[in-house]
């Protein structure tokens, strides 16, 4: 169909318009569209965080093994099914109680300083806008779940992060705050007794410290899994900062372990 067909009978015949974009021979794979995704401050704090949290969790579990229970002496504890069961040795770091404590109390400063640099940066530089929850996020997250469960065929539209990622990255600083406050409650239950009381006393502060750690580990494990299963190309963006939008999960219509490789584009119609 040409423009002339649609014109009325009185109209003079019009030559067809040239295509808006010059036709290019199909490229295989599609020409990369590389964008800068992560500032170097975000990348450096991310990897410092990854190492420091690993050491923090390992040393924390080693400390926990000195008394792998929550009950105050002479009491029982309601809400932990593994009272007095030690954490496996492979998950611990620091060798012994005192060694692990030294690691824990050294790494805590690394994490606090690193966390403040990260939060300060994303506040000043505006990246916090990518992470704060929006009204439509629950709906978008539901769409992502539907997509992963094959209920929905096409990847929901997403920008830098999908709604579930955004939720996770927003939740992490909140969990970190719980970890810091409950940690301070255990470290200084007398000097900071008022914070310890907020958690319901020393026993519960230890419990919330442990539970927040568990949540952090679970979310981190999911995060690492998704990097390898859905978007390995994002590894580049956390190292060099660059990301090829042609490889985005949305472009690939990627579910975990589905469409890991970029799709070959069909030649465009002439």
């Amino acid at each position: 169909m040409t423009a002339g067909d649609m014109a009325g009978p009185d109209a003079a015949p019009v030559a067809p318009l040239p295509p808006l974009v010059a036709a290019t021979p199909p490229v295989e794979p599609a020409a990369p569209m590389v964008v800068k995704r992560h500032h170097w401050i975000v990348r450096v704090t991310h990897w410092v965080n990854a190492l420091a949290i690993t050491l923090m969790v390992g040393s924390g579990l080693q400390i926990f093994n000195a008394y792998p229970a929550f009950a105050r002496r002479g009491e029982t504890f309601c809400c932990y099914p593994f009272e007095h069961k030690a954490i496996p040795k492979w998950a611990t770091f620091g060798g012994w109680l005192a060694g692990a404590r030294h690691w824990h109390f050294a790494m805590m400063w690394v994490l606090v300083v690193n966390g403040l640099i990260y939060l300060g940066f994303i506040y000043l530089h505006g990246e916090w806008r990518d992470l704060v929850p929006r009204k439509n996020d629950p709906r978008d997250a539901l769409e992502m779940i539907k997509f992963y469960l094959f209920v929905r065929k096409t990847h929901p539209h997403q920008g830098k992060h999908n709604a579930m990622q955004k939720g996770t990255y927003f939740l992490l600083p909140i969990i970190a705050a719980v970890l810091v406050l409950s940690g301070v409650s255990i470290w200084k239950p007398v000097e900071f007794g008022f914070i310890t009381s907020l958690f319901g006393g020393y026993v519960w502060a230890r419990y919330w410290h442990f539970m927040a750690m568990t949540a952090l580990v679970a979310l981190s494990a999911a995060h690492v899994f998704m990097v390898f299963a859905v978007d390995p190309y994002s590894m580049r963006s956390m190292i060099t900062g660059k990301y090829n939008e042609r490889n985005s999960p949305e472009e690939r219509n990627a579910r975990p372990f589905y469409h890991l490789f970029p799709r070959k584009r069909a030649p465009e119609a002439p």
Partner: protein, 243 residues
């Protein structure tokens, strides 16, 4: 969004190679204790942490056991370093006396009767063990600050050593924590005279320091211008151990 040309393949590859190498080097260097080169760093962190802990020390800080918490009673763990429960044997050692001395104007030796006659306090507080557990008990005893008033430490005193007859166990404290109103030479526990399992005839007890700093089976309190470590502190546990 800023578009940039490709061309970082080499950088990325090198990053991964170097990162992998350094990570495996790190893991290899870690025995179970962590790499040896980290010891200096950890020592530095411990010294800095101690200054933070000293800064945090508040005279008004008080511990109170929660009303809902039960006294540990028989479940209160009993630790000592001797092979068996240390007991003061009067037939070989004579009468038990607590010596309060060191850099003081009037050193004294106090018998258990002398202690019980002094102004005493009772407090139901937590005991915080370095292992992570806590236990509630009501402790009765004399404030270390009252003993200090009795002997009058000289102006240069910064530390106090608490020594025992449990195989020479001792731990030294900063004077600040020792002078807190909840730091006691305790001779009573849960309304009874202290038993051998918990440091009889008298022990140090304060919620303001971790359990291992609270010397049991006390024999000597020495005021000093310099610190002299302690049984567990010398083995790698933090010397300050404040709560």
């Amino acid at each position: 969004m800023k578009r940039e040309p490709e061309g970082n393949e080499f950088d990325r590859r090198r990053f991964i190679q170097l990162g992998g190498l350094s990570l495996s080097a790190f893991l290899a260097a870690c025995g179970s204790n962590g790499p040896a080169w980290a010891d200096g760093l950890l020592g530095f962190a411990e010294r800095k942490n101690e200054s933070v802990e000293r800064l945090l020390l508040r005279k008004g800080a008080r511990d109170m056991a929660r009303k809902s918490a039960k006294n540990a009673g028989k479940s209160f763990p009993s630790y000592f370093i001797s092979d068996k429960v240390p007991m003061w044997d009067e037939s070989t050692r004579g009468k038990w006396m607590l010596e309060v001395s060191g850099a003081v104007k009037r050193p004294v030796k106090l018998s258990l009767e002398d202690l019980t006659k002094m102004k005493g306090v009772s407090q139901r507080v937590n005991h915080y063990c370095v292992e992570g557990w806590n236990a509630v008990a009501e402790w009765t005893g004399v404030r270390v600050s009252d003993l200090a008033r009795l002997v009058e430490p000289t102006g240069d005193v910064q530390y106090v050593d608490f020594q025992s007859f449990d195989n020479d166990y001792h731990e030294s404290w900063d004077i600040g924590t020792a002078m807190l109103p909840q730091t006691l030479v305790a001779y009573g526990m849960d309304g009874q005279m202290l038993g051998p399992a918990h440091g009889a005839p008298a022990r140090l007890h304060s919620p303001a320091k971790l359990g291992y700093k609270n010397t049991k089976y006390l024999t000597k309190i020495v005021f000093m211008p310099a610190r002299n470590g302690g049984y567990w502190s010398d083995q790698g546990y933090e010397w300050f151990g404040g709560t």
